[in-house]
């Protein structure tokens, strides 16, 4: 006969007492395991929500950036490089530059490693009269098309080049001349084929005639000269005109740079604000989840101690009752020579068994409850081996502490008193 055999026999004899003890420990451990599993599920859900929001924000930002690129491209060139001595007041008054610079400048830029601008379009612009059309005012823009960068992968151009011998007319011009693509029109002493007719834009483009740069240089007697280079500001430099100016000044010191199409800047700013708003929303979500977690933690911090204390009280009282019921048994065991430490071990051993079994059952119940009523997450992610280990170790310890005093009383029971009373 061993102590463990005695404990197991007694448990099988008093199954209800054991079951109630097991239940109390299970409830206490389940409340702990359930709370921890719920918090784990909360954390997993929070990670999922934040990750989803971050992914969505990134998608939105990517899309916005792509849109931004497209918008910038659609808005057309927004950087104009002019001769350094060009008076800007004259430029704004006359709609074209009155100073000139070598056409070779654009080639110098194209061969450089400049990064703040792209899509270089050299032009020679001049406001003139169209003698064949009753001296009407026309803005002539001579261009040779975009100049590709030597060190970059070629991109599709914003503007197609105008072939020599052809002209692209703005809305007011082709409407006034009553011509359509394919027609031939007399233009400043030349016969040019209408390559394209623009739709109405409602701005000075409507009185613009695009011809080849070479022909423009001949018409205005400016061979090898241009009075502007249009460019498209790179997205990376959208908020820094100074950066563009500095870079261009390093390559073409005899030039100046102005920026127009402020809508692009506004859109860039809007994009930045949208990004800030999105990230603020993510941060707000994180804080809201953190507040929810803190509330759940506070609830668990109240529930778990109450459950543990209740469990310990129950184990203590039930062990005390068990000791009282087994008074005669303790007396006779002592008479048979069983030592007080062994009597102590009988009651503590039973409490430890209740604790171990309650720890396992309680963890399983708490885990199941947390997994069922929690915010989701796969069972494998919710399962916390350290928590199971803690349950299996701490539950018997708590049961031992709770049973300690009644077990000690049992071990110190005077067998003579018991046997005399019996």
């Amino acid at each position: 006969m061993t102590i463990w055999r005695l404990i197991l026999r007694e448990i099988s004899h008093r199954t209800i007492g054991f079951a109630l003890g097991l239940l109390s420990v299970s409830i206490a451990v389940a409340s702990l395991a359930g709370a921890m599993t719920l918090l784990r599920a909360h954390d997993i859900r929070t990670e999922e929500i934040v990750a989803a929001k971050e992914a969505e924000t990134k998608r939105e930002m990517d899309k916005m950036e792509d849109d931004y690129r497209k918008i910038m491209k659609n808005l057309g060139f927004n950087v104009l490089i002019l001769p350094k001595d060009q008076n800007l007041a004259d430029l704004y008054a006359d709609d074209f530059a009155s100073r000139y610079m070598p056409e070779a400048y654009v080639d110098r830029l194209a061969k450089s490693d400049i990064v703040t601008i792209q899509h270089l379009l050299p032009s020679l612009q001049q406001k003139a009269r169209w003698p064949e059309q009753g001296e009407r005012t026309v803005i002539v823009i001579g261009t040779r098309g975009e100049v590709p960068y030597a060190q970059r992968t070629p991109k599709s151009p914003i503007l197609d080049p105008v072939e020599p011998g052809t002209v692209v007319l703005g809305y007011e011009l082709h409407r006034g001349a009553n011509v359509k693509p394919g027609d031939t029109v007399a233009f400043m002493g030349r016969r040019l084929k209408v390559a394209k007719c623009h739709g109405e834009r409602g701005n000075k483009d409507d009185i613009t005639a695009w011809i080849s740069l070479r022909e423009a240089q001949e018409i205005f007697n400016r061979p090898g000269q241009i009075n502007g280079i249009l460019a498209l500001e790179c997205v990376c430099a959208a908020d820094s005109l100074d950066k563009i100016r500095a870079e261009i000044a390093g390559i073409l010191p005899d030039t100046q740079v102005i920026e127009f199409s402020s809508q692009v800047i506004a859109r860039a700013e809007a994009r930045r604000r949208a990004a800030e708003t999105a990230y603020a929303a993510i941060e707000s979500e994180k804080q809201q989840r953190a507040r929810l977690r803190a509330a759940r933690e506070r609830f668990a911090a109240m529930l778990v101690p109450v459950a543990l204390v209740g469990c310990m009280a129950w184990i203590g009282l039930s062990t005390f009752g068990n000791v009282r019921d087994r008074r005669a048994e303790i007396g006779v065991l002592r008479a048979l020579g069983v030592r007080s430490a062994q009597i102590l071990a009988v009651f503590l051993g039973k409490a430890a068994l209740i604790g171990v079994a309650g720890g396992v059952v309680g963890y399983a119940a708490g885990f199941a409850a947390g997994a069922t009523w929690g915010e989701g997450g796969p069972a494998s992610a919710l399962f916390q081996p350290p928590l199971l280990a803690a349950s299996v170790v701490l539950a018997p310890l708590l049961a031992l502490v709770a049973a300690w005093i009644p077990a000690l009383l049992a071990s110190q029971q005077d067998p003579a008193t018991v046997l005399r009373e019996e």
Binding site: M1, I3, L6, R9, E329, V332, L333, A335, G337
Partner: protein, 238 residues
């Protein structure tokens, strides 16, 4: 080595009562040798059970000494006394005091918790057969008759082959036939070389003893100590 199994010298024991100390045993001396079957008789409250508990190392006397097989029980530390009790003293009680959730075999083996035995199971089975309980091996006490319960308790008391058997009213809850059977077993134990101290207020029980001691108010009455020839009773299992 002394032949004396139990030696009580001037045992005195008082209990605390509501109006001061109450004397339970007052200066009792007694000696039991192998083959002694001593019955202590007297009315309730005369100190019989106190004397028996003191003899078993369960109740320290206020004064006097208790020696079993030459060892002063109360000079030993508690744990050593418990081990000594397991090895040298068997107890039989009026209420049997079998452990209710253990079957007969486990009840008989209960003393091995205190003092493990290599051949405990074989020895227990032998005793169970000897006391006619072979068919009740795996029955719990509640399923046994009172006679069977007391025989199981007797088997438990004898598991470690103690030289001394202390019996406190062992026939008190038994009918005459079962009582006679239990007394016969005690007598047989004494004949085999053991010493029995039987506490009883049943005059019939004393007829099986080799000596009878009358107690009154905690004292043995010397004039009443007498030698009685043991009755020849063959143990039977009811």
């Amino acid at each position: 080595m002394s032949d004396t199994v139990l030696q009580l010298r001037d045992i005195e024991k008082h209990y605390a009562g509501p109006s001061g100390k109450v004397g339970a045993v007052a200066g009792v001396s007694l000696s039991l040798s192998p083959r002694d079957f001593v019955a202590v008789q007297g009315p309730s409250g005369c100190g019989k059970s106190t004397l028996l508990l003191a003899s078993g190392g369960l109740l320290a006397p206020d004064s006097g000494t208790v020696s079993v097989a030459g060892k002063d029980l109360y000079a030993m530390p508690t744990d050593e006394r418990a081990r000594f009790r397991a090895a040298r003293i068997g107890f039989v009680f009026q209420q049997f005091h079998l452990i209710p959730y253990l079957d007969v075999l486990d009840n008989v083996l209960a003393p091995t918790m205190a003092l493990p035995m290599a051949d405990g199971r074989r020895k227990a089975l032998g005793l169970i057969e000897r006391f006619g309980l072979g068919h009740r091996l795996h029955h719990v006490p509640a399923a046994l008759s009172t006679g069977e319960r007391q025989r199981a308790a007797l088997a438990r008391a004898l598991l470690h082959d103690p030289p001394l058997l202390l019996a406190d009213e062992p026939t008190g809850n038994l009918d005459e036939a079962n009582g006679d059977a239990v007394l016969a077993h005690l007598a047989e134990f004494a004949k085999a070389g053991g010493a029995v101290l039987l506490v009883t207020h049943d005059p019939k029980a004393a007829r099986h003893a080799t000596r009878t001691i009358l107690m009154m108010d905690g004292r043995s009455l010397p004039d009443e100590v007498r030698q009685t020839p043991p009755r020849e009773i063959r143990p039977s299992h009811m």
